[in-house]
Symmetry: C2
Amino acid sequence: MATHFTVIKKDVSSKARLGRLVTAHGVVETPAFMPVGTQGTVKAMLPRDLKELGCQILLGNTYHLYLRPGHGLIRNLGGLHKFMGWDGPILTDSGGYQVFSLGATRKITEEGARFQSHLDGSSHMLSPEKAVEVQEALGSDIAMALDECIPHDATREYVRESTARTIRWAERGLKARDRTDQLMFGILQGGLFEDLRRWCAEEMIAMPFDGFAVGGLGVGEGEDLLRSIGAFTAGLLPENRPRYLMGVGRPQDILAAVRDGFDLFDCVIPTRNARNGTLFTSQGKLSIKRAEFADDPRPLDETCGCYTCRNFSRAYLRHLFMAGEILSAQLNSLHNLYFYHQIMKRCREALGAGRSDCWSLPAEAGVEP
Amino acid sequence: MATHFTVIKKDVSSKARLGRLVTAHGVVETPAFMPVGTQGTVKAMLPRDLKELGCQILLGNTYHLYLRPGHGLIRNLGGLHKFMGWDGPILTDSGGYQVFSLGATRKITEEGARFQSHLDGSSHMLSPEKAVEVQEALGSDIAMALDECIPHDATREYVRESTARTIRWAERGLKARDRTDQLMFGILQGGLFEDLRRWCAEEMIAMPFDGFAVGGLGVGEGEDLLRSIGAFTAGLLPENRPRYLMGVGRPQDILAAVRDGFDLFDCVIPTRNARNGTLFTSQGKLSIKRAEFADDPRPLDETCGCYTCRNFSRAYLRHLFMAGEILSAQLNSLHNLYFYHQIMKRCREALGAGRSDCWSLPAEAGVEP
C-alpha cells in the first residue's frame, strides 16, 4: 500500500498539503472532512444528498454497529457500503473512543476494554483483535487500530502506562489483519506531554501503518493545548502518510490543523449542531430559534450555495425548528455539512493554486461569534 | 374560471375520468393524490424529493399555519409557496376538520367555530370569512369553504341543522373572497343520509364554486358506508367540476373512489404510517420492525422504482427504525408517497389508454393483508 497516499502540493507559508488518498472505494482529495455516520447513517441525510454536497468519505462507528445491528449481519449483507447505500470510501473508528465515553461502565485491561452495552447492559470485550475483526466484517476502506483515549487531566504516570498499552495494542491489531483491501491507521496517544507524544509517534511510525491519527485531543484540554499538541504531533509524522486529527472539530480548529499539516478530520459538530438549531454561516454561528429570525426573509447565508440556502428563508427554518419538524434536522444538517465541505474545498483549491487565501475565511470572519 | 377543469377521457366500465385541473401554479393531472403538509412541510420530505416522486399538488393546513407561524407572517414573506419552497399547486383546507378534531375545546355557533389553540390554549374564532382571509393570505391555488365536519354517529336532526349551517357558511365564504387567482371549492356534508347529501349537493352546486369536495367520510363510519355514500354523492356532482374526496384514505379506498368519479384525494396515511414503520408494497402492507426483516437483503418492494427500494434493504430499513434514526422517517416516507403516486399515475395511464387494468392492482394484490 506504499502508493496509496500522495502529497500533490505543499503550502509555502504553512505545513498544509494537498493530497490524494486512494482507497478501495475511490479517491479522497485531502484535506477532507468526514461526516459521522454513527449508526450506519449520517443523521437526517440521504446518501445522495451527501454526494451532492461534496462528501468524499464517511466515518462509521465500530462500537455502535457492533452492538446494533451487529457486524456479522452487516458482513452477511455485503458490508457496510452496501448496507447503508454509500459506495464511496468509509473509515471506521476502532470503538475505543465510544468505550472511553462510557466512563464507569468500562474497564481497561491488557486484553482490551470490557464494557457494558448502552443498549441493554450486556457485557462485551473490545480487544485489539476484536476491533480488527469487526472492522474487517464491516469492510471499511480504512480501519483504525484500537487505542485508549486518555482523559486530558490524567496523570503523567497514567498517560505513560496507557500509551504503552495502546502501542502494544497497535502491534496486536496489525497482526490480526486478514483483509488486504483495507488500509489501517495507527492512533497516537501520549496525552498533553510532548515527550510521550514523541515516544508514541516513534513507536507507531516504526509499524507498517498506512496512515496515522492523533487521538486524545479535543476532549476538554482547551484550545491552546489542542493547537500546540496537535501541531507538535503532526510535525512528528512522516510526510508520505495521511494524518488524521480525530474528532476535531470547529471550523477554526480544522483550518488551524490543516495549516499544521493534518489531512483528515471528523466531527459530529455540524450534524449535532444542526439538529439543535445552531447553524454555521460566513457571518458567524446563528441560533435559528431566536425570535429575531421569525420574519427574516433572508437565507441562512447569502453567500451559500446549498439547497437549504437556495430555497428557504430563516423564517421558514425557524418555523420548522419551533414546530419540531423532521425537515428542520434535514435542512439544517444539509447546510452545516455543506458549509464544512466548502471550507475543505476552498482549502484544496487554494493549496492547488499556491494561494494562501483560505485561512482567514470563514473562521476569522466570525464562525465563533 | 369556467375552463380550469377539463375531463379528458371517461372510463367505459366505471365513472372514473382522466382530467386536467389548471391552477395559478400549474396543471394537476387527475386523478391525483395530495400529500399533506400540515405545518408547511410534508413531514420528512424535501420539496425536491416530492417533485421527483411525481407529486403534483400539496395540501396545506389552514388551522396549523394560522396558529403557527401565522398567516400574516406567511403573506408578508411572499405566501405559502415561497415560504415552504414549493412552486407547484397547493390546496389549503379550511381548518374545519382540525377544529372538529379538537372535540370538547371547540364550540360551533352561526358565526363560526370558536376553539382553543392546541399550542397555548388561546381562544380563536374561525368564521367562514376568516377561513377565506387566512387562505388568501397563504395564497394557495385552491381554497376550501369552511364546513362543519359532522361525526358519523350524529342524529339526523343534528346533521340537518349542521348541514344547513355549512351551506350558509359556504355562501358567506364566497362573498368574502378578494383574490381572483385562487380557486374555491365547496364542501358537501349531509352525514350518512342520502336525502341530506342530495339536498346539500343541490344547494352547493347552485353556488359558483370551482370544484366540490365531499367531507364527513372516513371518520369512523366504516368501509361500506364510506363507499356507498361516497359513490352516491359523487353521482350528484357536475361532470365539469373537479371532485375531491377529503381525507380518504387507504389505497383501496382511493381506487374505489376513482371508479366512483372522484378526482382528488389527500390523506396522512402514507406519511404517518411511514413514520410508524408501516410500508405499502405490491405484496401488501409490511411492518418494518418485525424480526423477520432483520437480515432480509431484499428491497421493500421488488417492483418499486423509488430511491429507497433502489438503494436499501429491508434489513437496513429495520435497523434505522429500531435505532430511532431520522433517516428511517425519510426513506419510509419517500417510499410510501412514491407508492401512492404510482397508483395514481397507473390510473391516469390506464384511463388515457382506455384500459381498465388499474383497478385490481395493487389494492387487491393485498395492500391490506
